[in-house]
Structure formats: structure tokens, C-alpha cells
Symmetry: C2
């Protein structure tokens, strides 16, 4: 007999069905026993006798029986299957469950996080986590469709790559074939996406995994995160912002079923944002209504910032274009130069940043000079990109909204880890698995490296 999902029992009153799932709860009233069966579609009540007595919460079971209408006074209006129940005629246990290390009916936030991550496969059974992971899949699906309907191509870029100059610490991977050398995991596909513009792809995106060996924060998981990486050729900053705004409107209203605080998204210059909010990240909502997402754009960032270690650093990255009308200031007052950087803000978080890029080799050389890079340094770090720009580079720009961070903001979750299936802990411990872990001496020998000091 074909399997029936819990949710579909309402359409099968009077029919015999086969249900498969987990025992969510059991209530033993002596001669009559009630079980809530849970599967991916939801919950349905099962009623029976002695057969059900031996069942324990979280056992995996196969139940056969007739779907019947509940008497009017026993209807549960709180669940979609509240008008029916299964009268079990056959009960088969497929897998027994031990007592769980924590309850899963709650939202889980009251439980110590280390314990939740150790048993993440149980933690993910709770309704809240199921929703977060399933809605995440829907959000990303809609992002992809939105972009592909507009002629974007999804292209995978390498994970085993070269150190990128994004500022954060790289994860390194020792090479076996070239001993003593290392790959780096990409902090973002920034240079690859610019190379794809040189390659004539024109409209690229990727749901890209990015890696930074930086300490965790509530809005940044340790180790890896995911971003919607995008780049377009032959576009203005306005065109990038309009497209991304349309995308996030659609996600918010059609997938998340939430309200957008203000349309079109208000635009703030960096200067005005600092003046008004004292920060370039801010929450426009006066009351924190969780069903409202307050987006805003921040533009006109300074191109450079003064830093302690080095005199001048790029505010975004060294490929960010200055505003056309400010280029002359590069010779007179560099800290007055505004850039074509744009940040997307949502409910107080920076959920995406990007820019129009420099594609003029002379302008790029000038920027590197201001940043104090030597010729050799430029060649070593950016040589391949500058070389690529000698073969016909289209004007281009992009943005990279963070998927984890946007969902955290959109769901009002206290941490990005609540929207990831298997996040690492703040100390870099992976969920469930015992990693990082020690490896055998032989493995290190093959790689030509050793642990510890000389």
C-alpha cells in the first residue's frame, strides 16, 4: 500500500492508509491509547489499544488503519489534521528510540548550545528548526529562479584556491603534490566572479560557500558561511540596487510572507547614516515588529579609511570604483573620495555589500599606489586579475548578500547558527562530528608538514 503523509489523511476519511513517521507523543488512557504521529508534513492523531502501549516517543513506526472523522467535541482546531484520526489496525516498529538528551517540543533556545550541536540530528527535529531549514531552502530556491529568469548563469568557482586579500585570516590546505605549498579556502569568490565578467558571462551568480578564520559572533558563524554571490557587466550602481531590491521584496513578501517597512528601500549616504544613527548599520523600525523587515541602502562610503597599522586602507576592497565626480580628489584629498560601494541593511544588520569595480588599468594603478602597495606586491596578489583586464574587460559590479545573516535577521533569530543545519560552535568544533581532530603521523608526512615547533 502506498504511503500517505500525515497532512493528506484529511483527504482520505473512510479509507485505509499506511502512515510512516515518528511517535511524537503518546497518551495512555488505559484501554485506549493516543499517539501523535509526526512526519515531514506534520502531525496526525492515531488511536488504538494494546498495540500502541509499547510505543515510546521518537520510535519510528509504520501504522496502518482507517482514517475516521473525530466526534465534534474532540476536534482540535490548532492542527490541520485536527478533524480526523487514524484508527490503527496494524502497528510495526521500524526503529526504537532511547530517551532523548533534551526535549524537542520547545524552541530549544533554553538548552545549552554545545549539547544541541552534539545531538544536532535531534535538535533539527524541533518544529522551529525544521521551519528554519525548510524555509531557507525555499528562499534560496526563489533567489535562484529570480536570477535565472533574468538571464543569470550559476557558475561554481573553486574551493581549493589562492589566498585572497579580503583582510580576514585564510584557512590553509597543505598540498601533497607540491610539498611546502598551500591552497587557501576562498574568503569569497570575488576575483573569480570578476574573471567571469572578463570571460563574457555578463550575469553570474552562485550560492557560494566562503571561509574566514575569524572568531564567531552572533551574526557570523565560525569558519564558513554562505552568500548569494552576484556580478553583472554593463550595469550602473542604480541598476544593481534596483535588481537586488526587487529580489528581496519578492523573497520577503512571497516566500517569507512578511511586510517590508518601506518601499522603495530608503537610501542613506554613509555620512547621513552616521549622523542619524551613529552607525552604518541601523534598524528603521521604531517598534521591533518581527513580521516587518526594514531594508535600507547605504551608499557614498568613503573609498579609503585611515588605519593604525597602515596609513590607508580600502573601506571595501581595492577594486571598488570611486565616484566619477570624485576622481580628481585622488590627487588632493583622498579621504574625501566617495566610492561606488553599496551595503544592504535589514533590521539592523548588514546583510550584503558590493560595489561597482574599477576596470580602468590606470585608475587601478593609482589606487594601488595610494594604498602603498609595491609593484611586486601588486603583481603577487592581483597580477592575474590585472592581466585579465588587458584583454577587454566590461564595466561590471555586484553584491554578495549573506544568506545565513539575512535569514537570521528575517526570522529574528538570536544567532546565524539557528538557520544552519550543522554549524560549528564558537570554538570551531563541528556539530555532531569530532572535528577538528588529531590525524595520523603518516598523513602529515605525506603532506610534508609537522605539528609544533622546530
Amino acid at each position: 500500500m502506498e504511503r500517505t503523509l500525515a497532512i493528506d489523511t484529511v483527504k482520505k476519511v473512510g479509507q485505509e492508509v499506511r502512515l510512516l513517521g515518528w511517535v511524537h507523543t503518546k497518551r495512555d488512557h488505559g484501554k485506549i491509547v493516543f499517539v501523535d504521529l509526526r512526519d515531514r508534513s506534520g502531525i496526525v492523531q492515531v488511536v488504538g489499544g494494546q498495540d500502541l502501549v509499547g510505543l515510546r516517543p521518537e520510535d519510528v513506526v509504520e501504522l496502518t488503519g482507517n482514517v475516521i472523522k473525530r466526534p465534534d467535541n474532540l476536534i482540535n482546531p490548532k492542527i490541520p489534521t485536527g478533524e480526523v484520526e487514524l484508527k490503527a489496525s496494524r502497528v510495526q516498529v521500524l526503529s526504537k528510540s532511547s530517551d532523548l538528551p533534551f526535549p524537542i517540543e520547545t524552541d530549544g533556545l533554553e538548552i545549552e548550545e554545545a549539547l544541541r550541536l552534539k545531538y544536532r540530528y535531534l535538535d533539527l527535529r524541533r518544529e522551529r528548526m525544521q521551519r528554519n531549514i525548510r524555509v531557507r531552502s525555499k528562499v534560496v530556491r526563489r533567489m535562484r529562479e529570480f536570477l535565472m529568469e533574468r538571464d543569470f548563469v550559476e557558475i561554481e568557482t573553486p574551493i581549493l584556491s589562492k589566498a585572497t586579500p579580503e583582510g580576514a585570516r585564510d584557512f590553509l590546505v597543505p598540498s601533497r603534490l607540491q610539498k611546502g605549498k598551500f591552497y587557501a579556502l576562498p574568503q569569497s569568490p570575488q576575483q573569480y566572479k570578476q574573471l567571469l565578467m572578463v570571460a563574457g558571462m555578463e550575469r553570474y551568480f552562485q550560492i557560494a560557500r566562503c571561509f574566514r578564520d575569524e572568531d564567531a559572533r552572533a551574526d557570523r558563524a565560525y569558519g564558513e558561511f554562505t552568500q548569494l554571490d552576484m556580478e553583472m557587466s554593463f550595469v550602473t550602481q542604480d541598476e544593481i540596487l534596483s535588481l537586488v531590491e526587487e529580489l528581496f521584496l519578492e523573497i520577503t513578501e512571497s516566500v517569507l510572507n512578511k511586510k517590508v517597512f518601506k518601499k522603495p528601500f530608503p537610501r542613506f549616504t554613509y555620512g547621513r547614516a552616521l549622523e542619524q544613527f551613529g552607525d552604518d548599520k541601523f534598524d528603521l523600525r521604531e517598534e521591533k515588529d518581527p513580521d516587518v523587515l526594514a531594508f535600507a541602502w547605504v551608499v557614498d562610503f568613503p573609498l579609503f579609511e585611515q588605519t593604525s597599522g597602515r596609513n590607508v586602507a580600502p573601506m571595501h576592497h581595492p577594486f571598488t570604483a570611486p565616484r566619477e565626480e570624485d576622481i580628481s580628489l585622488l590627487d588632493t584629498d583622498i579621504f574625501q573620495v566617495r566610492s561606488l560601494q553599496h551595503d544592504l541593511i535589514c533590521n539592523g544588520f548588514e546583510v550584503g555589500g558590493g560595489s561597482v569595480r574599477i576596470t580602468d588599468p590606470e585608475l587601478q594603478a593609482k589606487i594601488f599606489e595610494i594604498l602603498g602597495h609595491t609593484r611586486a606586491e601588486v603583481e603577487r596578489k592581483f597580477g592575474h586579475l590585472l592581466r585579465a583586464f588587458q584583454y577587454g574587460v566590461p564595466p561590471h559590479g555586484g553584491i554578495a548578500p549573506g544568506i545565513d545573516r539575512f535569514l537570521m535577521a528575517a526570522f529574528g533569530e538570536p544567532s546565524v547558527r539557528e538557520v544552519m543545519a550543522f554549524p560549528t560552535s564558537t570554538s570551531g568544533q563541528t556539530a555532531v562530528m569530532d572535528a577538528p581532530s588529531e590525524v595520523e603521523e603518516d598523513q602529515l608526512k605525506v603532506l610534508g608538514i609537522q605539528v609544533g615547533k622546530k
Copy 2:
């Protein structure tokens, strides 16, 4: 003025348009100059005078002018825009191009691969590579839609993970926060996807990046590859095979516009495949018609194989379930035990493998015993998974078709590198970028490792 794509000029005869793209070719006939302009949509002819003389192939240009019908005798029936041309009135060069290191009008296979990879951003401009990368995006899009329409959830699993016992060599990543310890990059999300079944996700997939430090072959890129990783709960092997067969039929016929050699896909037992073809990978086509994809299933693999180093090894992996009716043979003749492994074959390549998994703890313990694992070894390698199975595990199984390898087979390409945007070379050198590369002593110090011997 809004941009018009090359392909859309045919709809704008008599109108003034603005084109953006690359100079594909130039033919200088003295007073009159012809340029083929290329953008992501294709090519259109541009005709003009002195303004066009200075253009060189691969310059990026902005051209404004009127679209006119070509005289009948000058129509080019070989391209979709062959009936029109642009009479250029304004020519602006956005970026100049140097001479390319190789031609891009050819299919590229005649050029040394190292050179192609060094200048991959130019190599990708050739029509064949544009097609491979763009069709790849369409294939993966259709895979996703097919599965999501059937209630699958796409879930990302970690890249920074623990060594997996898949047999190949792991890439290691030294941990900064726990010095002397290492993450491993996943050879596949095998254990995570099984944990997601324990988590009640029921139908999972992911376009997953996998990592193996194994020497490259034509059908295997060095370092990383991409697979459609899938797992389902409460399914039989037949149900897995039917679903995957339907998916690949749709991809082949509706996205690739190719023919399927035989429907339904023929099924061979491992024994019959060896007998008939001398191999468990085989090509059913008698003549190698590139527009025909010959799929087949191979099933009934032996559960174990005899190996030299160790006496007994799993043919697939230690979680593969034996066929129900062969379980008694585990006590008498283990090499006669057939498994619920399934391999998908296409035009001579294994494009996917999977199995129904063991979910019975006693059976799993028995398999480990036969494989000669000690209790401690089992705990260290698989402890988390076995522990997870104590909390109600649904019967489950899956498969993982390789995206690169399937596309290589489907396109009839000589190597998987022809369907990847930025593959590594066979010696592990990344495309374009200079990696692996040496890193600074400080970076190693922070990680607590050093290069070379004590």
C-alpha cells in the same frame, strides 16, 4: 538609451539601438568596415566607416546606430541575426584588448591545456565553453526544480568537517583555535545526509562540493568535484531508481535535447555486466552517436570484496545494506552476499552510485565485525552515526550522481575539465591563480605547524 542585446536587433529594424559587447571579428574593406559584435546572446554584424577602423578583436565597445535590413544577397542564414545589421553612428571603446595568447574561434582542444587554464577567462569566451557552462547551469537548475517539486529540501552541509572513511585521501585544514588538530574537507556529505534522515528531513538533496586528494583522470578532476547528493527516507531501492531515472530522462530530453538509448533504463546485475562487458561500466551504444545517451543500472553488487592489504573491504561503504534474502549468508559465505548498491551508467561512465543503508544496529555491528574493525575503531570513525541511530532512524537510501562526470559523458567531452569553469590541472595547479603557493612563516606559526622534517 536602454541596452539592446545582439539577438534582439532582429526585432528592432528601423530603430536606433545601443549595443554593448566585444569585437568578435573585423573586416576592413577600405571605405567600409564590418565588425561582428558579440555579447552573451550571440553575434550581430555592424557596418561603418572610419569610426570602426581602430577597433581590434576583443575590444569592449558601446555602439549606437540604426538597425537595418541587409540586402537579400548579403543575408547570412547561419546566424539568427543574419538578416539585419547595425549601421553604427557612434562608437565608444570601453576597454582595449591586447593580442590574445590563443585563438578563441576554435573549440580549443588543439591548444595546450596549461595555457588554456592560465588564461581561462579568455578560454571561456569560446562558443563551446560558453555552451558547456551555460547548459551546466540549466541542467543543475532543472535537477533542483525536479526535486523541489517532489518535496525535497536542499540543505547545505559543512566543508570544514571530519575525515570520512570513503577510502580516498583527505585534504586537511590545520585548526588555529585547536592547534595540532585538523579539519578534513568532506569526500562526500555521506554521513551528514544520513544524519539528516535521522533529523526527520525525509527528502534531502544538495549540489555538493566533494574533495579527494587523488590523482586526476579524464573523468575525475584533481581536488574537487560536484555531485547531486540525495537521500530519502522510507523508500525501497526500486523507488530510488525510478525517481532518478525520471530525473535523468527529463534532463536528457528536455534540457540537453538528446535521445535516450533505451527506456526504461536496462538493469544489469553486477554478475551479468561482468559477463557481458567484462566491466561494471559499459557503453550500450554500438555506434557512438553523440546525440544518444545510453543509461543503464547496475545492481546486485557483492557487499564485500577481497583486498590485498586487508582481507575484506566493503565494495561501496560499510553502511550499504545487504539484500534481505542474503543476510543469512553473512554467517556462511560473505562473498556471496549481494548488496542494495546501485550504480548509474551513462555512455560507458559510472555517473552515480548509491545504496539503501543499514539502519539495524545489530546488522551494522555484524558488518563491522566482518570488516575486522575493532570496537575502538568503530567508535572513532562512526561513533556519532551509530549513536544517532539509537534515537529512531527511518529506513533510508540515496544516490549521488556526479555533475561534472555526467556532463562530460553527455557532451561527449574528453575530460571533466571541459565542463568546469576553473578546474585545477592534473598536477593540482589552480586555473588562472597561482595556487598552491608558498605562505608566510607567520601564517604557519599561527596554525602551529611547520613545513619539512624535524
